[in-house]
């Protein structure tokens, strides 16, 4: 798991160096067998064989790559694990990418009242910007689309708040503060109890009320029924 430390976003707006590189995940997932990719693997059988690369005889089959192109141009520079870690700050639903640290609902109340209340309102419903709280669930259509009744994954809060909030000073919160303010928002939405403490494990384990409502796009073009 990658670790991100406080303040490391300056000047590159990524996590600080340190911790394991994102590459560990890639190696880990080599066991995953198939992928829906457009390019065939041209017969290489080794598990480690890439599915897209200049070594897999792709010249002439890709736009802009003539048959006489080399397998690699090597115009860029290889990125060290430390370099990757600086920018590799996304967080996925399985918890991948969540940093160390933790925060409680009580701590989050303080963070919220200092850093968020001006734009999202005292109870997360008043605005002036996006409403963050609505614990009323829905059957057919939602009347609001908020964390409490629309967001499918709690981990998205970490990904988004760390990257983009508070809007005028993004990147200002520590890892612990981000956990804390998420705990407070989830508590306001009646998703976790007031004595909760969130960290990488507990945040990834939160089940959001709207999780199972999401379905992948089924529009396909063509003359069939309108979707």
């Amino acid at each position: 798991m990658r670790r991100a430390q406080t303040g490391g976003r300056v000047p590159l707006r990524g996590a600080a160096e340190g911790g394991l590189p994102g590459m560990v995940r890639g190696a880990f997932l080599l066991v995953v067998a198939t992928a829906l990719v457009a390019c065939s693997d041209s017969g290489q059988t080794a598990d480690r064989a890439p599915i897209v690369s200049g070594d897999v005889a792709m010249a002439g089959t890709l736009e802009g790559i003539p048959a006489h192109a080399p397998a690699r141009f090597d115009f860029g520079t290889e990125a060290s694990a430390a370099r990757v870690a600086i920018w590799d700050i996304d967080v996925r639903p399985d918890g991948e990418g969540l940093p160390e640290g933790s925060g409680s609902v009580a701590q989050g109340r303080d963070v919220y009242n200092v850093h968020c209340v001006a734009c999202h309102g005292p109870t997360g419903t008043e605005g002036p910007n996006d409403r963050l709280v609505d614990s009323e669930q829905w059957d057919d259509v939602p009347s609001t689309r908020t964390v409490g009744n629309y967001w499918p994954h709690a981990t998205t809060l970490y990904d988004y708040i760390r990257k983009a909030m508070p809007q005028l000073t993004p990147g200002i919160l520590s890892e612990d503060q981000v956990y804390a303010v998420i705990a407070y928002i989830l508590w306001m939405n009646e998703i976790i109890p007031e004595d909760s403490v969130l960290d990488a494990q507990t945040l990834a384990a939160v089940v959001m009320p709207a999780r199972d409502k999401f379905v992948v796009d089924d529009r396909v073009g063509g003359a069939g029924p309108v979707r």
């Binding site: 736009e63 802009g64 990125a79 990257k163 983009a164 529009r219």
Partner: protein
């Protein structure tokens, strides 16, 4: 004009005076002479030399097409003046904008793209590196999936609304850059990979997941737009460009691509850019832009000054390939005729359509509907309501209508039909 009460000089007198001034050495350079001539000249442009060459051109002073800005906030948009434009290419300074935390100030020399994740060799590319890779150019549209969201509401169909305000989150450019496949080939994508995460270098660190097969097919790392470097509002110095996909996925100010085996479920592919369908389900990763067309002339606030021959003009496009047909109705959708399509008809690009119409002065409603090469026909709003309920806000590609009143005044006319 001289101040001493003389109103007009005869041409001869004027030439004599001007030549005299020049001959008398009162003006020293040719530039000064031409400035003088331009000030004093009669309005006939054949009688006076014109302006000199210049380093940067500009529009004729009377031409002032502008983007429509509704709210100047950090997360906001501006819209392309579709009714002012001809052909298909959008001048770069009129390309629509949608950003979530303002336009970042990035220096070309400082910008880097990191490509990593399920790859053989994670790499960092500077702009000079990317420029050296084989280059591709394509003329293609970009449309925000929120475009036209205002014309879906059953109870509040607008009437006095311009095509710019309704559908101006659409622009077309010639994009130039490196195919994403070229860069993925360079870093080597590992078995099991199926998505990428694209991330921007703006204060929103805009992040979207895109299927790997899509970016391998035709996505581009674009650094050029209509022959020049991409503009800051369009992602200078580097943006992802996903042809035919909803605009938000074409992440601007691109700094990172992570190859993954699953989507990341970022805020802008869960909380936003998803479609509640009315049956308790929410459609996610609705990425392709279905076929659509809009009539740009005549449209509100234009008024036809007289009956007779008028050419109905508009744009059609599809995120799934080429447009094969655009039909126009001048009787509220009862009968349809094929409009003329202006070639070249390009894939995932806008097409200009035209239909000559003899307006007899009666009230009527005009519509257009596009068909693309997959056989998909631009639906009516009722068809979308039936399929998706009445509460979705993205992908509103249904047929648009304009009402022509007896007075010649044109208003948005869908409300007349539903």
């Amino acid at each position: 004009m001289p101040r001493d009460g003389r109103t007009k000089l005869s041409r001869r007198a004027w030439i004599t005076t001007t030549s005299g001034v020049i001959a008398a050495g009162l003006v020293k350079t040719q530039t000064d002479a031409i400035k003088l001539v331009a000030q004093e000249a009669p309005s006939d442009p054949t009688r006076v030399p014109g302006k000199l060459v210049s380093e940067l051109g500009g529009r004729a002073p009377a031409e002032e097409p502008k983007r429509l800005v509704r709210a100047q906030t950090l997360s906001s948009s501006s819209r392309t003046p579709l009714a002012d434009l001809m052909g298909t290419i959008t001048p770069a300074d009129l390309h629509f904008e949608r950003h979530h935390a303002g336009v970042p100030d990035i220096r070309l020399e400082d910008h880097e793209l990191l490509v990593h994740g399920m790859v053989e060799r994670p790499m960092v590319f500077r702009m000079s590196d990317l420029m050296r890779y084989p280059q591709v150019s394509r003329i293609q549209f970009l449309e925000c999936s929120g475009n036209g969201g205002g014309v879906y509401n059953r109870d509040r169909m607008p009437t006095e609304v311009t095509v710019q305000a309704l559908d101006g989150l659409l622009s077309t450019s010639e994009w130039t850059g490196v195919a994403v496949s070229t860069i993925l080939r360079e870093v080597g994508v590992r078995r099991g990979a199926s998505w990428i995460l694209a991330e921007g270098s703006d204060a929103a660190v805009m992040s979207r997941s895109i299927p790997l097969d899509k970016v391998m097919e035709d996505s581009m790392l674009a650094y050029g737009q209509n022959g020049e470097r991409i503009r800051p509002e369009q992602g200078y110095p580097l943006r992802l460009f996903n042809p035919g996909y909803e605009g938000n996925t074409s992440v601007k100010w691109l700094r990172r691509i992570e190859v993954t085996d699953q989507p990341t479920h970022t805020r802008d592919e869960t909380s936003k850019y998803t479609d509640p369908l009315g049956d308790g389900k929410v459609r996610q990763f609705s990425l392709a832009m279905d076929a659509k067309s809009v009539i740009t002339f005549p449209s509100y606030p234009y008024a036809l000054p007289e009956t007779g021959w008028w050419e109905i003009r508009g744009l059609a496009w599809s995120g799934r390939g080429r447009i094969t047909k655009v039909e126009v109705s001048t009787d509220g959708g009862r009968t349809w005729v094929d409009a003329a399509l202006q070639g070249p008809i390009l894939e995932k690009s806008t097409v200009r359509f035209r239909h000559l119409f003899d307006w007899n002065g009666r009230d009527t409603v005009i519509l257009s509907r596009a068909t693309d090469e997959t056989g998909y026909v631009q639906p009516t709003v009722e068809q979308l309501w039936d399929a998706r309920g009445t509460r979705t806000s993205y992908h509103q590609n249904h047929q648009r209508a304009w009402k022509i009143a007896r007075t010649g005044e044109v208003t948005f006319g869908l409300g007349e039909l539903v």
